[in-house]
Each structure stands twice: as C-alpha cells, then as structure tokens.
C-alpha cells in the first residue's frame, strides 16, 4: 500500500492545532454567557459538529448522484467516508445539544424541529450502514447506498419543514426554547470563537474523510484479493 501522502500528514497536524486553538477559544477566550453560564461554551463545538454533519449529508447525496452516473467506485468510497464521519459528528451534535439543553431549558430533549430532524437524520445514517452491511456484492452495495443517500437527502429537508408545523401545536415548550436560543446575542469575541470553530471542524472533517477514503481503498483491495485467492 502506498505510504501516507505528505499533504495528509500536514493536514493531520493542522487539524490537531486547529482543534487545540478552537478549544482554547471556546473555553477561555470567549466571554462567559451570563444567562446560561459556562455550559454555553459547548455551543461552539455544537455548531461546528452540526455544520460538518450537515455538510457530510449533502456531500453524500451528491457523491451518490455522481456515482450513479459515473459508476466509479472512488465516489462510493467518498460517499461512505462522508456518511461515516458525519454520523460521528452528528452524534456529537445531538449529545452536546442535549447537555446544553439540560441546564438551559431544564430538559434533555425537546421535540424541536432542529433536534428532531437531527435525530431522524442520524437514523437515516444508521439505516444506510445497515443496508450496506446486508449486501455482499460491492458494486450493488455502492449502488444501493447511493440511492439511499439520495432519498435521505431529499427527505430530510421535508422532515424539517413538517416538524416546524407542529410547533403551532406546542407553542409553549418549543416556542420558549427557540426564543431562548435566538435571544442569545453574541459579542465580538464569541463570534470569533464561533467562526473559528466552524473553520476548525471543516478542516478536521476533511482530514477524517481523507483517512476514511484511504481506509475504503484498503477495504476494496482486501475484497479483491479475497476474490482472487478464492478463485
């Protein structure tokens, strides 16, 4: 197998540095939010992970389309990588949101459109992996995976729209929750930490996807070798 490209090594180091800086900005640089206290500091990572989680979902749907047109396995590897890394980050988003919600709204969970859509999206990711696991033929696995990410990508925005309708039924819980979130005004230093977290997580995301794509390459190689040996 080819050795690790130099660009990837650089990206690894940059990712670690960015994560460290972002952590510093979130923990010490940004001022404390007065209404919610220290816990508000998880907000920066919450937004960062949510952003890359969504980005991965969009990338997966797009690579799905490209795969179906080109039938080139590299797009499938790219799609799987995007979904897998997004699953991890989206899981973090949900957990961080929950941890934040507990002291802020006094509940671990509300059926707010954003939270619910996030949970449904995570379930789509999980279903995607279960689907892939059930198929032996790599070509078919890639094809079905692509179709499913495409369906998921179309369905998730509609889910968000529908759940937003339900807000009219439960104005108290969700309305209050939203007002709380929107009221949070950011000072200049908070904005710096916020945008830096977005940037840092984007780079970390790219780095992890790159690693996962390489892993996918190894997986394919093993499968091909197994086929050759068994013949």
């Amino acid at each position: 197998m080819q050795t690790k490209p130099i660009a990837l090594k650089i990206l690894d180091v940059v990712s670690i540095i960015l994560l460290a800086i972002s952590t510093y900005l979130a923990l010490f640089f940004a001022p404390m939010e007065l209404v919610m206290g220290q816990v508000q500091r998880v907000f920066y990572f919450h937004i960062g992970t949510a952003w890359v989680g969504l980005l991965g979902f969009v990338i997966a749907a797009l690579t799905g389309i490209v795969y179906l047109i080109t039938k080139d396995m590299k797009w499938d590897r790219f799609g799987v990588a995007a979904v897998e890394v997004s699953t991890v980050f989206f899981f973090l988003t949900i957990v961080l949101g929950s941890i934040w919600a507990r002291p802020a709204w006094n509940t671990w969970w509300t059926w707010d459109p954003r939270l619910t859509t996030a949970a449904v999206t995570e379930l789509i990711y999980v279903a995607y992996f279960m689907l892939r696991q059930g198929i032996d033929d790599p070509e078919k696995r890639a094809r079905f995976g692509a179709v499913y990410t495409l369906l998921g990508g179309v369905s998730a925005p509609i889910t968000f729209m529908v759940i937003r309708l339900f807000r009219t039924i439960h104005p108290v819980i969700v309305g209050a929750a939203n007002a709380n979130q929107e009221k949070m005004s950011m000072t200049g230093d908070m904005k710096i930490a916020f945008f830096f977290a977005l940037f840092a997580f984007t780079i970390i995301f790219i780095d992890l996807i790159w690693h996962r794509v390489r892993l996918g390459g190894l997986e394919d190689k093993v499968e091909q070798l197994k086929l050759k040996v068994s013949m």
Partner: protein, 246 residues
C-alpha cells in the same frame, strides 16, 4: 446470471423514452403488471388478509394501550390510523416484493421487453391498491368500534395522498431490501426515517380535519403531502433502474 438474460438485457436500449413503437407502451405494460398482481392476489387473498388482520389487531392493542375513551379518541384517532396503515403497509410491501423475488418473477419481469419504470409503476400501483383495500375496510370498522365518523371525502383524499407517498418510497425501498441478506427486517428501518415527513403531514392533516380545525391549518400539511408525493414519485422513477439492474 445466465447468458441469455444478459444478452436480452443488452438488447433493451438504455434510453427508454424512445421505446414507444417497438415495445408495449409504458401505460400498457404498467397495467399488465398491475393486472397480474391483482389477479394473483384475488385468487388467494394472502396479502390483503394478512394486512387486514394485522391492522385490526393493532387497533385493538391501541385501544387498550391508550385507553381510547371519548376524550382521548378525538385527538389520537389520526395518529392511531396512520400508525396502523404504516405498519400494515410495510407488511404488504415486503410480501409483495419478496414473492416476486422468491418465485423468480422479478427476473422474468426484468427479461420482459418493457420499460423498467413500468415495473416500478406496476408494483407501486398494485401495492397502493392493496393498501387502499385494507384502508377501506379498516375505516368503517374503526368508525363502528369507536363511533367516529371517518367517512368524509376530504379525509379520504388525505388518506389517498398519504398512501401514495408512502407506497412510492416503500416500493422502491422494498425492491432494495429484498435483495439484501436481512430482507424483511430491513424494510421498516430503511423506510420509516425517509417516510417520516409523509406520515407526519398525513397525521397532521387528518387530525386537523377530525378536530374541525380551520382549513388554512390543514392546507399546509396538505401542500407538503402533495410536494412529497410528486418529489418522491419523480425520484423513485429516476432511480428504480439502478435498484433492479443486475
């Protein structure tokens, strides 16, 4: 697969829209498939009867689980109905596609010189027919059991729209799930997260109708239902080829 099949597959041109003259039209082929499915079903009533009994059992369980007295009934009827339809729907979708697969009918269908989308539309329409048959029996039974009048044209319209959307995605996903190792188990896992919008919109719209809400409140979920139906029929139509290709 066998050589014969591969050759015949190659004979079918990839661009399917230009195929009106040499092969039966999309409409004819679709209805041939629907006719086949319905004829097979009306001989034994295997699928519809299973879905029906299952639906009734679910409703009975809900009755005790939710203590459906008069007050609760008003607000949960829509939810109970759609949950029942969704569960019964997966049962039917699974069965309908796995009989195709098990008896080798799918290979036969794929060999036939018809447009692949005719297979999709044919299967979707017959699945929809099964679901509608079950719904037309469940609705009066529910009405009698719980003394709610469900025979309203607007409600039936919503149920039709919701079922169309559900079946449109369900047919595509069941064609995928029968080709996997886990088969029946996989369909609900694949289908439910993707079908959440159509189910929620249908519940919301039906609930609005049953509780006598303003028409404006029903209009938004109704629009979403229509959007979902159109979008997913279009997407399923476009990608079905990739799901059945060998």
């Amino acid at each position: 697969m066998d050589k014969n099949k591969i050759q015949k597959d190659e004979l079918i041109p990839r661009a399917k829209r230009s195929s009106l003259s040499s092969r039966p039209s999309l409409l004819k082929a679709t209805f041939a498939i629907v006719q086949k499915d319905l004829a097979a079903e009306f001989r034994s009533f295997e699928l519809v009867s299973a879905m029906l009994v299952f639906s009734l059992l679910v409703i009975i369980i809900f009755n005790f689980a939710l203590e459906l007295d008069i007050k609760v009934r008003q607000s949960v009827t829509a939810g109970v109905l759609w949950t029942t339809f969704a569960f019964a729907g997966t049962l039917g979708l699974n069965r309908s596609m796995s009989t195709e697969k098990d008896r080798g009918c799918m290979d036969g269908l794929l060999l036939a010189p018809v447009d692949r989308s005719a297979i999709y539309f044919g299967k979707a329409i017959s699945n929809l027919a099964f679901m509608l048959i079950v719904e037309t029996i469940v609705l009066p039974v529910y009405s009698v059991l719980y003394n709610v009048n469900l025979f309203r044209l607007d409600l039936i319209g919503i149920i039709l729209l919701g079922s169309i959307g559900y079946v449109a995605v369900g047919t595509l996903l069941s064609a995928m799930s029968v080709q996997t190792r886990t088969r029946e188990v996989l369909l609900p896992i694949l289908l439910f997260p993707v079908a959440i919008p159509v189910l929620l919109a249908a519940v919301k719209a039906s609930n609005g109708l049953l509780t006598g809400a303003d028409f404006a409140e029903v209009l938004i979920p109704l629009n979403i239902l229509i959007v979902y139906d159109v979008v997913f029929i279009a997407v399923a139509f476009m990608v079905f080829d990739f799901v059945v290709e060998e």
